[in-house]
């Protein structure tokens, strides 16, 4: 026994056990629409106080983080409801695959891509943290504004054939994100005053002060809208295409990754890089990775119809985020995304200062973080890969049995978004109906969501960039990094418009012929 304790093996086993619990619970949080990795970490944060040291707490919380981000792919693929905001793009190709009966294949491709993303970002974290952190602070509001603009270009790629409608929906999403209070001057916009309906005082100014919340909007727009659409169709079948069986569908093999090496590495690095940039949300990572996968693809038309390529891009980038977001946290003291912002709480509870001196001062904790991330990624892979076979059967469940349960989960998730605000649950209905009407009018909902996700940051960085640079718009064209991003935006937009035009004329030719 002495031998074991000397080498810390008992500690290691104990910590790995915590990582296992963390990953498993994280997957549940990620898989439930409306619950996110951030929420999982926040819920468990006060419980970590029972540990006298920070290390076991980190194993648990990093497990929740990795599990939560990965779990999001399950509902995205199986029921077309992204489990977390960063898995929005996963459903674009994952769900069509599931409808073809290839749910198991899609899930496994997603998990393998997630694993690669996690490992690549871990390598970056382990070896490049100090130089990357120095680079990250070179990105000011100007560059961040442009990166968010760049992420918005994915809208153009998504709405091929009806680009104006897609772009319109995107900007409508931006407009919705601005509703409420601007925290810079504490003033409200686009919110009506209190109104009275049937003796009930509806105080929207109160409810909407902090605006619409992303998670209720997301699940309203996807899950509740789908429930209405299925109800309209009578809830007769399951989610599979007609005449398709799960048994007859194509099975997963590692050959699916043949020729995807560049895609995996590129997407993982995009995810890692977006994580490193503080203040650019995690969802931007998978959006940019997806649009890049599309523009570099040999077969861009297939993306969005169930091509593994898109799925791989989305999943490896959102797991790439995990290691990346820890880079600025552990070297500058600035969180890279919402979840790492919660992790700071864990360090503070144990009186560890994360910042410029962290790696020097707490070398041991730093090593433990790297080991923990590695173990969590391996555990995540093992749990998911071998349980997906059973999960993939969800597509066989009849809609009439599935949707009541989805409704239940959505209510729990929406209510938990801000630890118990009833208005967030009403948002489910508001955006469920909005999504339903938008679909009827031929307006796509995915661009709307993307606009909503990015809108607030777009405004924030625009105001900051312009106000801090003497109101001169030319600042957006003066710094070298900014010009680089402009080139990328122009190339990608030009390509999308050309592609859209080409597609449009083909379509017309097809109708005429």
């Amino acid at each position: 026994m002495d031998f074991l304790t000397n080498f810390g093996l008992t500690d290691f086993i104990f910590n790995s056990g915590l990582a296992l619990i963390g990953v498993a619970v994280g997957i549940i949080f990620g898989a439930i629409p409306g619950m996110s990795a951030t929420m999982a970490v926040a819920v468990f944060l006060p419980m970590t106080y029972v540990f006298k040291e920070v290390t076991p707490a980190l194993y648990l919380l990093l497990g929740l983080y990795v599990g939560g981000i990965s779990g999001g792919l399950i509902p995205a693929i199986l029921i077309n409801v992204p489990g977390t905001p960063s898995s929005v793009c996963t459903g674009f190709d994952g769900y069509p695959m599931a409808r073809r009966g290839e749910s198991e294949r899609a899930l496994k491709i997603g998990v393998v891509a997630s694993f690669f993303g996690g490992i690549i970002s871990l390598l970056v974290l382990a070896f490049l943290t100090p130089p990357l952190a120095r680079m990250a602070i070179k990105f000011s509001a100007i560059e961040k504004f442009l990166i968010i603009l760049f992420a918005m270009t994915v809208i153009a790629a998504l709405s091929k054939g009806s680009m104006t409608k897609g772009v319109f929906a995107g900007f409508l999403g931006v407009l919705f994100s601005l509703i409420g209070e601007l925290s810079l001057n504490n003033k409200m916009r686009m919110v009506p005053d209190a109104v009275e309906i049937f003796n009930y005082k509806l105080n929207l100014a109160q409810d909407l002060r902090s605006g619409f919340q992303l998670l209720p909007l997301l699940i309203g727009l996807f899950a509740i809208t789908q429930m209405f659409q299925e109800a309209e169709k009578g809830m007769l079948s399951n989610n599979l295409n007609e005449g398709v069986t799960v048994e007859g569908a194509r099975k997963f093999s590692f050959k699916d990754f043949a020729g995807q090496f560049v895609n995996v590495v590129r997407s993982s690095l995009i995810g890692t890089f977006m994580g490193i940039l503080p203040g650019v949300g995690g969802s931007a990572a998978s959006l940019i990775a997806y649009s890049q996968a599309k523009s570099w693809s040999k077969d861009p038309d297939k993306l969005g119809t169930g091509a593994p390529e898109g799925l791989i891009a989305s999943e490896s980038s959102n797991n790439g985020l995990t290691g990346g977001a820890l880079v600025p946290l552990l070297s500058l003291g600035i969180p890279g995304d919402a979840t790492t912002a919660v992790l700071i709480g864990a360090f503070m509870l144990h009186k560890i200062e994360v910042g410029p001196l962290f790696i020097q001062k707490y070398g041991d904790t730093w090593n433990q973080i790297l080991i923990a991330l590695l173990i969590c990624n391996v555990i995540m892979f093992l749990i998911m890969f071998f349980s997906l076979k059973y999960m993939s059967n969800v597509v066989k469940i009849k809609s009439s049995r599935l949707y009541p349960l989805i409704m239940l989960m959505c209510v729990v998730g929406a209510y938990a978004t801000r630890s118990g605000i009833m208005f967030d649950v009403w948002c489910l209905l508001i955006f469920g109906l909005l999504g339903y009407v938008m679909n009827k009018l031929g307006l796509p909902t995915a661009p709307f969501l993307i606009g909503f996700i990015l809108g607030k940051d777009l405004e924030k960085y625009f105001i900051e960039a312009v106000r801090n640079n003497n109101y001169n718009l030319m600042v957006f064209f003066e710094r070298p990094i900014a010009i680089g991003i402009w080139v990328l935006i122009a190339l990608f937009l030009g390509y999308s418009i050309w592609d859209n035009f080409k597609g449009g004329s083909l379509e017309k030719a097809g109708i005429k012929g």
Partner: protein, 338 residues
Amino acid sequence: MNLKRLVSLVLVMVFCLTPFAEAAIYENQRVRIVIGSTSVSGDSYMVADIVNRYLQKYLNCQSKVDPVGANEAFATIQTAAPDGMTFMIFHDMTYLGVLFGSYSKEFDLENMVIGPRVGQNPGSCFAAKRNAPYNDMKEMAEWLKNNPDKTVRLSVEMGSVSNLAFVIYYVWLKDAYGEEVANRMRFVLGGSTDTKLQQLWDNNADVIFGDYSSFLQYTAEGVDEQLALKYVGLLDKIASRPDLPVYGDMGITIDGKPIYFSKDFLIYLPKGTPDNVVAELDEAVAKMQADPDFQADMTKMTYAGNTLQSKEAREFIYAKRDILKKVIESAPNLEDLE
């Protein structure tokens, strides 16, 4: 709404009818503690988390801290049943928001029941880059006076404690050094602590406002010159750091009196909460105050475990509000300073 009133009426009646059931209101109950911040790494959460653990011990209840944000926390206190099972722990923003006009009068202190004070955070402060040509805010004023072509940009958030700290300093600067010097002190709109840090590193601000503990690591030896900070003005004394410049010690005054401002964390309950609920909280807080572990936990985070019973807390916070009300009313609005 009517139902809630009915429920509260029934609850009040129950309380009146059971005068002998003393000090057991919270036993084995589920208690929800909302705080006015959504961050789980800020001082609001940290104080509430420590207090929550000791309240659980002394009230023998199951309680939980919900970080819902300021607006949502205020609304919760206005609508929750006044049975003591939902309350808020929050600092001076509770009334500052109303004083600055960013929250409606509906959320005034008069519309809540004020419970005991559970702790203080003296650590609100301004920090500057380490290589700034001044070491505290008094020197900063001198530096501005001696360099008529220079300006200083302070990053603050509108309607918050930083706004208060800014206007107090501005008024003092104007009185002591004249309007011309005061007007060369500009402000930049900040956000969360990490936004402000980036503003500083990006050279979009010269001085930023935040919490002592969140800046501490950047003031240590060995930090990259580009990231390094120094404290230039604390709003109150921190017992363990007598070396740092404090507003009151530098001669910054309100109405001629030196100012020392700590954030006071109080328990706020819905209007109509019966006295025996508050009495039970008072009792638990008194036990907490005497608990050396609680004091150690608070000191470890550079907070102070100075509690006050609800009656004194109420008088204290009303008096504090009256002083600050005068300050805010006489000080210029940030909008007009632009």
